[in-house]
Symmetry: C2
């Protein structure tokens, strides 16, 4: 397809999102200017508005994209037993979040900078993800494999615990991500058994 000279829409768009993701994660949405994002990409500030109508939409697109990816990448197999499903969930959650620390950070820290409408849409996606875990716990309880007083609370407790890995784990430290995953699985398994 013919293109006007100087046209880079197909490559600049992703680069804008990557730069915004990195800078928002490092400095926070409110503290990062459109000029700073443009400088990171290597264009002038005005050019960004070819790729997003405004800064708010740029933030929302990053968060919605992250949550959509998270839901699409889910590994749950209802044909397995509840314990195997739970173990797969723990491993998946840690691995997925470990692979994209910037997006995870933004998804948790910048919720308050979303407009009410955008906040509601992101929250709906988060609830959908939580429901996936809760259905596993509920199946385990019904099968008599798990003992959990309240599956909703256990869901939130487990997700908070697992996501917390991102706040302290650094590659090259005392433990590998696989060892950490094994230990978290051990704690989760015992907490619901």
């Amino acid at each position: 397809m013919a293109r006007t000279a100087g046209s880079h829409s197909d490559i600049t768009g992703p680069r804008v999102r990557e730069a915004a993701l990195r800078l928002f994660a490092r400095g926070g949405y409110a503290a990062v200017s459109m000029r700073a994002i443009a400088a990171e990409v290597g264009v002038q500030a005005g050019a960004l508005y070819n790729y997003t109508p405004d800064k708010q939409t740029l933030l929302f697109d990053l968060m919605e994209g992250h949550m959509t990816e998270l839901l699409a990448a889910g590994v749950d197999d209802p044909a397995l037993g509840a314990e195997a499903r739970l173990q797969a969930f723990v491993a998946f959650h840690i691995r997925f979040h470990h692979a994209r620390p910037d997006a995870v950070f933004i998804a948790y820290m910048e919720l308050r900078n979303l407009s009410p409408e955008n906040f509601a849409r992101v929250e709906a996606l988060r609830r959908e993800y939580e429901n996936g875990l809760e259905s596993i716990l509920r199946e385990g309880v019904e099968a008599g494999i798990f003992r959990v007083a309240d599956t909703k609370i256990a869901t939130l407790a487990i997700i908070a615990m697992l996501t917390g890995v991102n706040t302290w784990f650094r590659a090259g430290g005392r433990l590998s991500i696989e060892e950490v995953t094994a230990q978290y699985w051990d704690m989760v398994r015992r907490a619901v058994s």
Copy 2:
């Protein structure tokens, strides 16, 4: 003690910190202006500088004050057994954090807005708090009461799980904070037993 007319140092100072705490928690440090804080207090922006040398120090004082309170309020009694100490820690952590959601929110979300020196000081206080929990877990492991592969990881996992209560718990909901505490204690106890 005689005072100049218009002098309100003893009352305005706390009100500045309260307003900053509330506004930082709601909108984020970077998005809240000194003018907005002044308006909340009912003074002009310039008057704030009688109570803090700059905005950064105001943030630091809030975070350091919160962490110092947290450490001073600790209820640990080494004379008790490890399980009783752990149960007391869980109840204390949930109660203390539940009582000051704004300070907790700021302490977690605004770390990146601290200068490197201030960040190091707040982090040292946080590590001190974590060490309190880890010593409980270590005693329990040595006494053969707890079974934990790595006390440092278990410490971080438990704190993340407990602090997570603040992100979803709302008074007047389905469960009271006491019922929630009982369920978290049940999960923590089993995770380390």
